[in-house]
């Protein structure tokens, strides 16, 4: 198989340009709005940032997962997933505004001396949750993720050329296991720094897993939507089969259940303990206007997708599965809204920036993703399982 045969279709370039235009326009609009209300800007920015971060890091997790499990579904999504991981430099750039300007609007509870005087941090937190510590740790997280991303992408590129390299396959597997642990650990710490510290007097040990579970849902959904779109054009037309979609749908279902399991475990433990220090998280989120958002997340992020994804027929239908997937990405945004915003306001009515900023960051991210997608063949041509993975044996 020649590399040229499997390059991305022309429409990817058009998409890249369009996404860049929309993203840039939305970003300019959002910045103009941000000059007037910077606090609102950074609250919306953090939520949007967590969404695109999830798409990127979740894909990194899935790349490593498919190296470990070696399923046919993994070969189909591997290149889109790798392209998504290569947006990581952009994700690092997106972090800069938070680090430079946004921190004082977001993390006032542990940065503002006045607030600290009223509610002092615990002994360990005083040393851990500091401005410098936050920045140093962010650099470490990005260093680890970028290293994993570069290694997996470089090896994958080498495999396209050296199709018979057995050592390369072994290396993928050797690094994928520890890599997944590094990703989950790193993201757990990052979730504590970036999200959980919005309410520094509250802590939950499962928080990082909830965030990782959400990232896996959004990235799996995104990759399903991408391969279904790509399958409309050559060269992937005819490659994507119902059995691949079936497997991806099953995986998506399991991620939805995993995330719900983590989220519910936290609720159950805190609800059972009923301790003043712990229940603050749910006091703000399960009462008043936020109760409505909680119900939306529970019903439309879990129950509806769960029952739809149980059906074998729906999982095997590309159009239906990709719609469920896109719906779940939207629900991720609602869940992130519910996770972050109640720390700032009791009003669950979104600001206009909550619509413009996801479009801005999402548009630019998608544009970079499309750019990456064009850099390599859409299928891992050196993977020894490729022929088997794209073979048709449905009579």
């Amino acid at each position: 198989m020649a590399v040229e045969e499997y390059l991305a279709p022309e429409s990817v370039s058009r998409f890249q340009a369009r996404a860049f235009g929309v993203g840039t326009a939305a970003l300019i609009l959002a910045i103009l709005g941000g000059l007037r209300s910077p606090a609102q800007f950074y609250q919306s920015y953090l939520m949007s940032y967590l969404l695109v971060l999830g798409l990127t890091l979740g894909s990194l997790g899935l790349v490593m997962l498919q190296h470990l499990t070696a399923g046919h579904w993994g070969i189909i999504i591997r290149r889109p997933a790798e392209s998504a991981t290569r947006t990581l430099p952009l994700i690092a750039i997106f972090f800069v505004p938070i680090a430079l300007f946004g921190m004082k609007y977001l993390y006032g509870e542990w940065l503002d001396p006045q607030a600290l005087k009223e509610h002092p941090l615990s002994g360990f937190q005083q040393h851990y949750l500091t401005h410098t510590g936050y920045l140093i740790r962010a650099v470490i997280y990005f260093a680890v993720w970028l290293a994993l991303m570069f290694i997996f992408n470089i090896w994958s590129k080498q495999q396209d050329v050296n199709q018979t390299d057995r050592i390369l396959r072994q290396r993928f597997k050797m690094l994928a296991g520890p890599g997944i642990i590094l990703y989950v650990l790193g993201m757990s710490f990052a979730a504590i720094d970036w999200v959980m510290s919005l309410s520094p007097h509250w802590a939950s040990t499962i928080y990082g897993f909830i965030v990782v579970g959400g990232q896996l849902i959004s990235s799996m959904s995104f990759l399903i939507a991408v391969v279904v779109l790509l399958a409309r054009y050559q060269p992937l037309a005819g490659v994507l089969q119902p059995r691949h979609l079936h497997d991806m749908g099953k995986l998506l279902l399991s991620f939805v259940m995993l995330w719900a399991y983590f989220d519910f475990s936290q609720l159950l433990i805190i609800w059972s303990g009923n301790l003043p220090a712990e229940i603050s998280f749910y006091r703000t989120r399960l009462y008043g206007e936020w109760a409505a958002v909680a119900v939306i997340v529970c019903v439309f992020h879990f129950f509806v997708p769960f029952f739809l994804l149980l059906s074998q027929d729906l999982k095997r239908r590309a159009q239906v599965l990709s719609k469920i997937a896109l719906w779940l990405i939207l629900m991720r945004l609602v869940d992130l809204f519910w996770m972050t915003r109640p720390e700032f306001t009791s009003s669950a009515v979104p600001s206009w920036l909550d619509f413009v900023l996801p479009i801005a960051l999402g548009g630019l991210w998608l544009s970079f993703f499309a750019f990456n997608l064009k850099r390599s063949p859409l299928l891992p041509l050196g993977d020894p399982q490729l022929a088997e993975a794209i073979e048709h044996h449905e009579h």
Binding site: F264, L267, L268, W271, S272, N274, L310, Q312, H393, E394, H395
Partner: protein, 180 residues
């Protein structure tokens, strides 16, 4: 009519899964419906060639799961609210979050058990004996031969004609399967 009480069907033996699939497709096209294939390993595409419709196992599993979950929740609610109301740490009697883990576990249990036993029941298992074992050569079905058996209860079945038809499909061997 007379022959049907003595004969279970006619069985053809094939060398390769491809020949079996081909023969099955031809037999279906010919109008035979009551037939079954026997292979030493799962053969991809055989179910489609036999025109097997989706079975009831998923539905049975769903019903079993729902029954397990609902009964678990109901039982906990009944025990805590009606049968033995007890104030535990000031929590409401209907402490539904605490009921969820058991509800979840019994959903899984109900779904898994009904899936396995539903599958066994639909397959008429356990079945100590089956007429196909009356054919001596059938021992190869667990090694390297592939069998298609057209059963006598098929309306189109005719001992001589069906045997001739199967012979024409590159069968290695065609045997009558006596029904005892």
């Amino acid at each position: 009519m007379e022959q049907r009480s003595h004969i279970y069907g006619v069985m053809a033996e094939f060398d390769t899964p491809e020949k079996l699939i081909h023969a099955t497709e031809r037999a279906r096209a010919e109008g035979y419906r009551r037939m079954d294939a026997y292979t030493p390993f799962p053969v991809e595409g055989l179910s489609e060639a036999m025109g097997l419709k989706r079975n009831m196992v998923p539905l049975i599993t769903l019903i079993g799961g729902l029954f397990g979950g609902l009964s678990a929740f109901f039982f906990q609610w009944w025990a805590n609210v009606l049968s033995y109301p007890e104030d535990i740490g000031g929590r409401p009697l209907n402490s539904w979050p605490a009921f969820i883990p058991v509800t979840f576990e019994l959903t899984v249990l109900g779904a898994a058990l009904s899936c396995v036993f539903g599958m066994l029941a639909l397959n008429h298992l356990p079945q100590p004996h089956h007429p196909v074992f009356n054919v001596k050569r059938f021992v190869h079905a667990s090694a390297d031969r592939f069998y298609l058996c057209v059963e006598a209860r098929d309306p189109k079945f005719h001992l001589a004609d069906t045997a001739r038809f199967l012979q024409g499909l590159h069968a290695r061997h065609v045997s009558e399967v006596p029904d005892d």
